[in-house]
């Protein structure tokens, strides 16, 4: 059983350019993890919530795209003359808005009442949210895959020694753009407010920052980043056929990336995501028989455990100061 996300790497291996192909696969996989981890870290930093529902948010975002782009056919049905890529992009924008609203709604309904409770209790609430969203989504998705109707399909740039899917190029560009956008966001008024909130909620409030609004925005950003990650997880070459009931589950592999970088470091999220993605891609090339099937699926966890033993707060995480 080869996981879908390594198919191109395997093909590359057959062509004798395995290492180069693994680099491409690893970077693209890593950028997905980086997106997911970044959203997660933003939520954690701003609201102190360990969001186990991140996988569900990712799948939900991808599902919104499937709904808008292929099921309801919005806005393509009203704009039949426009090229597919433009209407699809509009569908994605609608889906992302829906995802942002959903993220804010989750925060307002389920997380807000838990302010001041133990971090662990809040984390378990998100686990409950994850179960609910996944159950409802899986019911909608059904047993089939839901194609997202993206305009790139299975197109591939064949450079001879390496094959790069069109989606992978898009993905790297989008990820880079989003990382820059997030970096710029933290320089805006709202971004600074968010940093202040992350530092000390009460002090931020005393300075006139609407902490509730910051929480909402953080969840909206987290949900949007998760949704983008979910979309890229549901298109070629990661999952050929589209969104299915396993997509949310794949996001669990982003947890090691988050922990690796440190729960509260945005830079760490990107670095951790890339490390995990590359490690997964290259582990698919290991020739040892005894590793058995599915080894690349657990590589992230092994790396995570080893790193945590050396650095208990991840590579870039802030060490918690403990007092009696």
């Amino acid at each position: 059983m080869t996981p879908d996300f390594l198919i191109l790497a395997q093909e590359g291996a057959a062509n004798g350019s395995a290492a180069a192909q693994a680099l491409v696969t690893g970077l693209s996989l890593g950028s997905i993890y980086a997106l997911l981890a970044m959203g997660f870290v933003i939520i954690f930093k701003a609201t102190q919530v360990l969001n186990f529902a991140h996988g569900a948010l990712a799948a939900m975002g991808a599902f919104f795209v499937a709904v808008f782009a292929t099921i309801w056919d919005i806005p393509q049905r009203w704009l039949p003359d426009w090229p597919v890529w433009s209407t699809w992009t509009l569908s994605v924008v609608f889906a992302l808005i829906a995802a942002a609203l959903a993220g804010m709604a989750i925060e307002r309904v389920f997380i807000r009442p838990m302010i001041g409770e133990e971090l662990f209790a809040v984390a378990i609430v998100t686990l409950g949210v994850d179960i609910v969203i996944r159950a409802v989504l899986n019911d909608f998705i059904g047993t089939d895959s839901r194609p997202l109707g993206d305009p790139w399909g299975t197109g591939v740039f064949d450079l001879g020694f390496v094959r790069i899917a069109h989606t992978e190029v898009v993905q790297l560009v989008v990820t880079f753009a989003l990382v820059v956008a997030i970096a710029l966001f933290f320089r805006t008024r709202l971004g600074v407010a968010m940093q202040a909130t992350a530092f000390d909620q009460e002090a931020a409030r005393a300075q006139g920052i609407d902490v509730g609004k910051v929480f909402g925005i953080a969840w909206a950003i987290g949900a949007v980043l998760a949704a983008v990650g979910g979309i890229f997880l549901s298109v070629f070459p990661r999952r050929g056929a589209g969104l299915d009931t396993q997509t949310a589950f794949f996001v669990f592999a982003a947890f090691p990336a988050i922990i690796l970088g440190g729960l509260d470091s945005v830079v760490g999220a990107v670095v951790g995501g890339m490390i995990i993605g590359l490690a997964q891609a290259y582990s698919g090339l290991l020739p040892w028989e005894f590793l058995g099937t599915g080894f690349s699926g657990v590589v992230p966890y092994f790396i995570m455990i080893v790193v945590l033993l050396v650095r208990p707060y991840g590579l870039f995480g802030t060490e918690e100061i403990r007092r009696v």
Binding site: F120, I124, I131, D139
Partner: protein
Amino acid sequence: MRGRPLLYTSYEGDQAILNTTTKKVAAGLFILFLAAIPFFAAGTIGEEGSLPGPDFLATGDWLRLLSTVGIYAIGALGLNILTGLAGQVSLGHAFFMGLGAYTAAVLGSPAGPLWGLGLPMWVWLPAAGIVAALVGVLVAPAAVRVRGLYLAIVTLGLVFIGEYLWRNLDFITGGSQSGRNHPTFAFRIWKEEEPLIDFSADGTWFGFLNLSGQAKTYLFILAVTIGFVLLAKNLQRTRVGRAFMSIRDRDIAAEVMGVNEFKYKTTAFAISSFFAGVAGALIASLVGRTIPETWNLFLSVQFIAIILIGGVGTVTGAILGTLFVILLPRLVRDFTGWMEGIVESGDGLLAGILDIFVSTESGDFGLINTSAGVAPGLGIDQLNLVIYGLLIILFLIFEPLGLYGIWLRIRNYWKGWPFTY
């Protein structure tokens, strides 16, 4: 000191597991009731006789369900010791259960295409716990170094690594395709052909008790569960238990007071894993056949749900939570079946109201979907999941002490009745 149940004249009385007369009587009656359940069925005592009581409980599937409750309660007690007493959040419970189950399978199953030594139950059942506990001790150093939420995710990794191991160690687990059989409940001295007591086959005990296999299994599991409940309850009032609680409440303060954090966290992991290993071995044997995917993250989450819904840190809570979480899917199924029946009978106000919520055929609309087709609405499995998730959320938001908290409130209300204080 009659009539003053809360007046203790000795430390023994204060520290007793059942420290009031009411508790003693209630616990005694409850255990008697549980033990009597199989005998509610007609023909279990002598030729015709039975105990008076709700005889649906004595049917095969209810006995099985109650056995499951007993086993899950053992697992939940284990997680409760780690998470509720020692305050270490673990999502890795499923891993230790799987470890126990496969240890039991290797030791207890006869040799075949898969590894098996064919040893008797008094070997494999404790061994399942001990092996899990040893691995727990191995994992503990990591857990001591890594704190809080980081620990939750490390233990999450444990489940995935475990699943990967079970899938690939197919000479032990049978692999994903076929899975493997687990030993049955039977008491043997050593490897003799005929067991002294076979808990899985119908038979007669003491010459006049006619019991089915399910009934015997149930009684066996009831006995084991009571043993583990006593163990867990007892742990809370020992030095070790108090050390766990001090670590939970403030680990540095505990260390300052001379509680060796490393030692007690390791102990907590070992004890918790022991409970999990035994529970895993029992549930695997009850089910009969498992595949590696049985021991997945959802199982861990179920246990988290159990102790949260029941009430973290209390033995009573763990038991209440298990009853609730295991019986809930059954109740949901019966309830939707009941609603479907009413809707399909098609008349009356109730049917009209329920029709809004239940869709029984494709094209119909409703929140809950009972038809096998693709009508909109949640299928029963999904409905169960949604209810699970919502219960976890709602309990955490509104009643962090869980069912035990509700019970406490009811009790205190009646204690002071008719006064409100």
